[in-house]
């Protein structure tokens, strides 16, 4: 097996799960997220030589995936309203109340505008810094911080209004 193959496999093992989840929160559809991740890794494999620094791999893959997602819109005008949202499940077991609460929170995240949702997912799920998010989204840091602020602020307000997690905040 070539060193390129080994690098690729390491890249897949490290990032495929988080990249799939990020893709899901980006496009809100599991099948599309699956396609996006496959396209992303195919492209990544073709251009693996251009990835010089392993530390920048995550941002590099996210950038490729965002580009693939944008191409999807170039190819076909997509109407989000027509996409039936999948039933979400998570990998954590918990009490029925916790699962219900989590499911409700997922719906709230999906309810956020993409411009708030995306940087939030990048920060919370992918662990990207404000600077990394700003670079990937081609925004300045202040704008990113403002969007992160609004994302959390909106979610907090929504949670309060639905009484979600009130036992923790009470």
């Amino acid at each position: 097996m070539s060193s390129k193959d080994l690098r690729y496999q390491a890249l897949v093992k490290t990032f495929y799960a988080d990249l799939y989840r990020y893709a899901y929160w980006l496009c809100q559809h599991k099948a599309i997220a699956d396609d996006l991740v496959q396209e992303t890794f195919l492209r990544a494999w073709k251009h693996l030589d251009s990835l010089l620094d392993a530390g920048s791999a995550k941002g590099w893959l996210v950038t490729i995936l965002r580009r693939e997602n944008a191409r999807r819109f170039e190819r076909k005008q997509f109407d989000y309203q027509e996409i039936e949202q999948d039933e979400l499940s998570d990998q954590h077991s918990g009490s029925p109340e916790q699962l219900a609460e989590q499911s409700q929170l997922q719906q709230l995240i999906l309810g956020l505008d993409l411009e708030y949702r995306e940087p939030l997912v990048m920060q919370v799920l992918l662990g990207m810094t404000g600077e990394e998010i700003a670079t990937t989204l081609a925004l300045n840091l202040n704008t990113v911080n403002t969007r992160l602020y609004r994302a959390r602020h909106q979610l907090r307000e929504l949670i309060k209004s639905t009484n979600l997690g009130s036992h923790r905040h009470g």
Binding site: Y16, D90, Q91, L120, V124, N145, H169
Partner: protein
């Protein structure tokens, strides 16, 4: 840092990396409480964001890469074949050029080279062809061989440097003789006699074709040449 700016910074990054934010947190219990709530929210968000990943996705990603690798290899192989074909073509052209330079317009030298090239045909002389077969080929020249008392071991069209020629090997009492039957417009200068260390030969102009005879050095050619001159006949009207 005023209250609004504090909230803006804390909400954009609840882990509060900056020292300025840390100082503000130290001084105010209510702010610490807010940070705890936001960190708790982030924990819940992280759990909620970890949606299930298709089990076989990693396998598919590995497979896709192997497929892409195979395709790339295939493209590279096709490319290699292309290069190999180009090299072979170039080599062929160089050889052709070499032949032209080497043999010039010398019919004898080329005939000898041809005999050497197909030397194996001279060795395996078990086959005996019916005269009808030979004459079927001779029809191409609107000619026929009639009354030849020896045997024909080999009869096949060959490329005599761009000219379609009939390559015959006749068995005589002395041994095998190679005869090339060339159409009249072959463009070679006739050569009455030529030889190298092993073979000798001569060309012979007939009515409808030219013959080039090549035999081992010790063999007599003139008697055969005289006979063939009689036995080959041509009728241009019959030319197919």
């Amino acid at each position: 840092m005023d209250e609004l700016e504090f909230r803006r910074r804390l909400f954009s990054d609840p882990k509060a990396g900056t020292t300025e934010l840390q100082q503000a947190l130290q001084q105010d219990e209510a702010k610490k409480q807010l940070q705890q709530e936001l960190l708790q929210l982030d924990t819940q968000l992280l759990q909620a964001m970890q949606v299930g990943v298709p089990h076989e996705l990693a396998d598919r990603l590995m497979f896709n890469q192997q497929l892409a690798g195979f395709r790339q290899q295939k493209r590279r192989r096709q490319w290699t074949y292309g290069i190999a074909a180009a090299v072979a073509l170039t080599a062929g052209l160089v050889q052709l050029r070499f032949e032209f330079v080497h043999f010039g317009n010398d019919l004898g030298s080329y005939a000898l080279a041809h005999v050497y090239h197909e030397a194996s045909a001279l060795v395996s002389l078990n086959e005996q062809l019916p005269m009808a077969t030979v004459n079927a080929l001779m029809a191409d020249f609107a000619g026929k061989l009639d009354g030849f008392d020896g045997q024909v071991h080999y009869a096949r069209f060959c490329n005599f440097r761009g000219v379609r020629a009939l390559h015959l090997i006749l068995k005589t009492q002395d041994g095998p003789v190679t005869v090339f039957v060339l159409p009249k417009d072959h463009g070679w200068q006739p050569n009455q006699g030529f030889a190298d260390d092993n073979f000798h030969g001569q060309s012979l102009a007939l009515a409808g074709a030219d013959l080039v005879l090549v035999a081992a050095k010790q063999q007599q050619l003139t008697p055969l040449a005289d006979k063939l001159q009689q036995q080959f006949s041509f009728n241009p009207g019959q030319r197919s």
